[in-house]
Amino acid sequence: MTAPQIGAARFIGQRVPRKEDGRLLTGRGTFVDDIVLPGMLHVAFVRSPIARGRIALIDTSVARDMPGVHAILTAKDLSRFKIDMLTFYLTLPGIEIPPLATDRVAYVGDPVVMVIAQDRYLAEDAAGLVAIDYEEEDPVVTIDDAKTGPLVHPGSESNAAAVLGVEEDEDLEALLASAPHLVTGTITHQRVSQSPMETRGVVVDQQGDEELTVYIACQSPHLVARYLSQAFGMPNISIRVLAKDVGGSFGLKVQPWREEMAVIAAGMILRRPLKWTEDRLENLTAANQAREQEITLRIAFDADGKLLASHADYDLNNGAYPHGPDCNIAVQMFMWAAYKMPAFGFYTKGWYTNTVGLAAYRGPWAMESLARETMLDIAARQIGVDPIEIRRRNLITKADQPCTTSLGIQLEDITPAECLDKLLETLDVPAFRAEQAAARKQGRYLGLGIATYIEPTASTGSIGVMSGELAQIRIEPTGKVTATLSTHSQGHGTQTTMAQVIADQLGVPYEDVSVFEGDSSRGGFGPGAAGSRQGVAGGGASMKAAKLLLDKVKRVAAHLLNANPDDVRLENGVVYVAGAEEMTRSLREIAEVAYGEPDRLPPDIQAGLETQYRYTPPPVTFTSAANACIVEIDAETGFVAIKRWISSEDCGVVINPAVVEGQIAGGLAQAIGSVLLEEVSFDARGNPTAVTYKDYMLPAISDVPDFEHVHASTPSKSEGGFRGVGEGGCIIGPPTLVNAIADALSPFGARCLDLPLTPSKILELIEGRTILRKASGHGAGPQAAAVDRPTAVTASEPDATPIGEAAEPQAAPPLEPAPATAVDGLWKMVLSTPMGPQAMKGRFATNGQILTGTLYSDMGDQDFEGIVAGATLKWDLKVEKPVSLTLKYDVQIEGDKLSGKVKMGFFGNAKLTGERL
């Protein structure tokens, strides 16, 4: 082993083992649900089953009498506090956001009542006994609903949460109209669920009138403490917020929201420790969600494929109570920031609806990259230019900088063009094109997608809450190093990366550096894990503080050893004096004197070896990347297989390649989920249709390839040269994959701009028919992509051969003759139940052996499916009242009469009679 080089980075740039992994991989992490306090009670919420309506009556009397139930609270009980729900920027949102619904409910899952009981089981039992009457109203579900429907927030002027920009600018329209090439498309991104492994959760413990302790899954304990102080208006209370380990956040946990605030308020009312852990059903239905945007992008090019002008018309479904009721202006700010775009205009709108509110989600403005990069590929095909070439002609290169974009963003050192060059060193495009052409002749459809982007990271200084980060470092009397940082890890591994930076700067072993974070009572304010900022701001703070501390060590050691400070060096935890080997001392020996014998220190130096530095990086540090992805599509089933994925990114000086690649891979996995699998959707009544992981499909390990990584590593202007890398994969991933799919499908002339690209949709694109798509209340826009299908397939797409089965017949009617007994039609029936006779009507329809029908009764209308065998009909019906039960119908038909029995679970059998109407 060679001796470490003095002054060279020994830990920065290395794949050192993560300090967190030992406890996390052996199940010894401390998450909120691991917190158990003496006397702690548990919370369950009663949530609205309707999307919109008035609360007529809440009856908690039965639930309250249940043994083990301690309290049942409603909005009225919490009203003793004035609780200002604030946005992420700690500003008022402009609408009333109650922690618990007051007189109205605004989405399915809206928390209405809190049940507090001995344990969560009892709390859920009692929650089932709370009776709430609602006066249901027609909900506002989609963006289109929001534009024309009733007000989501009565008293507001419209359902527009925010609007910026102009719909039509005359000068811009003239530019667009007169351009040699104009490319237009509408891109739709579905709503997605924030699915951290650890759901939301909070434990509250008020320990005295002036002491409030909160354990909460969050992205910065400091930010939560500041939020609570402001939201509750309690400057005189000492608030301590703790979050040791957090299992993923993505933006969901940047601030406490309604449920957490309700639990904290209840804890202060009851003076008992309370715990609420969001379960997965709650997470998928009531935790703040993300995306749900559509954008119509128009791009004008000159005859050479150079950008001339563009306009974006953007809509965002914010839900009822979003973290920030905005119109996502960042989408517009960064739409063309990396490209030479002379003129750009936008019209950007955010809408309120009766759905769960949105929160930021890893790359909240990512829609710009999806829209721009997919439309650039469409433009390339339309103009007849290679997709790589169209980017080369328009990207801002190093030589073009410094420059300022048309929206005023100053660029000094972005490198998307250079990332693309590096990417193409590892990807043989001509070889792929040859393989693709050969495969198409065999009816196999390969596609290559490429995307480029830049991302603003570590934004600081312009938005109040986005401050710098603080590093406090001390060399303990033992010679070991303890650092307390305002950073926070949701899996990012900041205990590792910050220790690497500190060990390098100070000259101590990596193993000797311990990093503490996750407690608002330690260190100082920092917004934590938000906006890809910790490497830049926290890394810079660690660097600066370590330098200050090293200076102090040198001065103390020089004084003690009678040497010149410039001749002192600290290396691997040992203090050396140049040219005086006998003066070598351990860091511990120096530290013991610094703490224990202040008389021996220089007169102007404070005892101890402690320092701190609050580092504020430049306002924005840009990260750049180019990605490529190769897919194969099965034209018979519409399935996409990802064959290869290369990420070429420039996040400046890489502190730990394994951590950087982990961040990129995690974001790319989420991108794959968004493009192929994940979808939060609602029916026309605003009911969520994917409420478990059976229906809400996250990418599994089998859906995510091994990513190849290339690092460009252009040092930034910030201390240490770092750039943020937390969100990039989630931003550049979607267009990369969509472009690969579109390339594979190019023989069919298809545009794929409506996420997620499910097998059903891809087959529809391949076969050029729209009948595969189920019409739903959600997603009025998707047909737009099919409507403006390019009229001509360009010469660069050689084999536009239709696949073999295009001529196959459609959905042939069943050949089996209808059953001899006439079943179809309307029947009236009486069911003899233990509670008395129940009249109902039924409509039956048969199709071969399949029976479908509807029962109409006082309990409402219910559809069912069952089976026909001769004159026997059998079907099952689930009912929820008076208890959850499956009714098994077994009915014989004789002419115009029917008779039979209904098995009603533990209520036994009931007789059914009826006649044809």
Partner: protein
């Protein structure tokens, strides 16, 4: 997501299980592998008064040759089915289907009887039972009866089993060693329920199809026996057989629906293709042999 309160018993004998089920009058639920039941309990979609755990009963485990076929204990784990040499010889198609059930981890607990008794329409094993002509042995204090798999399913999770009946065995008839086995499944991710799935067995005697068992999963409210296709295949010479025409007949018996994952039309379109391709490839392979 905490279950509602329930009592729990784990009897040592089948008789005791039957007595408890009879006493409960429909309020009991049998716990085998729990891979479906546990989530249903947690979501409170299932709220039994009493959970009857049958995992301690040795007589419900293992597979053995019996009655000119194979008798499989319902508590045989899906991974035990995959690893069983008797079953590998007698029912290779059952093993293929079982490999597609859930994930390795869930197959360690999930049982063959649990899956067949539950009747999830998009699951592999109910369709395998229908295609291969299996029957279930159902026992109660009232006696024992055998129910043919094709008469077992009425709708999603709805079967002919009475609330007091316990599945004590699944009988699979023998199929000759040179049976042509067909299996295709299209699922969003490996381990998911099928968007569309096909399982079938064909025996050939003197170049003609002598026996056919074909069933769909994920193509309607129950596993669906492709009766018209079976009838059309019987007696047909395998040379020059019209696989697409048979596929068309097979699709005619299905009743798929639109859901969150795919449209009914997608299921029919892809079902027709995988059927025709699976049949054609199998026939080509047989003729080449």
């Amino acid at each position: 997501m905490k279950p509602a309160p329930f009592d729990y018993i784990a009897p040592e004998t089948i008789d005791e299980v039957c007595e408890r089920l009879a006493e409960a009058g429909g309020g009991a639920t049998v716990l085998a592998g729990g891979q479906t039941l546990m989530p249903l309990l947690a979501l409170r979609m299932s709220q039994p008064f009493i959970l009857v755990d049958i995992n301690r009963i040795a007589a419900l485990k293992g597979a053995a040759r019996a009655d000119g076929g194979t008798r499989i204990g319902p508590v045989m784990r899906q991974n035990e089915v995959i690893a069983d040499p008797t079953l590998a010889n007698a029912l290779p198609l059952l093993l293929t289907a079982t490999r597609h059930v859930g994930h390795h981890q869930t197959r360690n607990r999930g049982t063959i009887g649990g899956s067949i008794a539950l009747g999830e329409p998009a699951a592999e094993l109910p369709a395998a039972a229908v295609a291969l002509g299996a029957s279930v042995e159902a026992r109660s204090t009232r006696g024992v009866r055998r129910i043919a798999a094709e008469a077992l399913y009425f709708g999603p999770y709805a079967t002919a089993l009475e609330p007091d009946e316990l599945v004590t065995a699944i009988h699979f008839p023998d199929w000759p060693p040179d049976t042509i086995n067909l299996f295709r499944e299209v699922a969003r991710r490996p381990g998911d329920f099928a968007l569309v799935g096909l399982i079938g067995a064909l025996t050939v005697e003197q170049g003609r199809i002598a026996r056919a068992g074909l069933a769909w999963f994920g193509m309607g409210p129950t596993p669906i026996k492709a009766r018209q296709a079976e009838a059309a295949l019987l007696g047909q010479s395998i040379a020059g057989l019209d696989a697409r025409g048979i596929a068309e007949l097979a699709i005619a018996d299905t009743a798929p629906f639109d859901d969150h994952h795919a449209t009914a039309d997608y299921r029919r379109t892809v079902g027709r293709r995988i059927f025709a391709r699976a049949l054609q490839e199998a026939l080509d392979a047989r003729q080449a042999a």
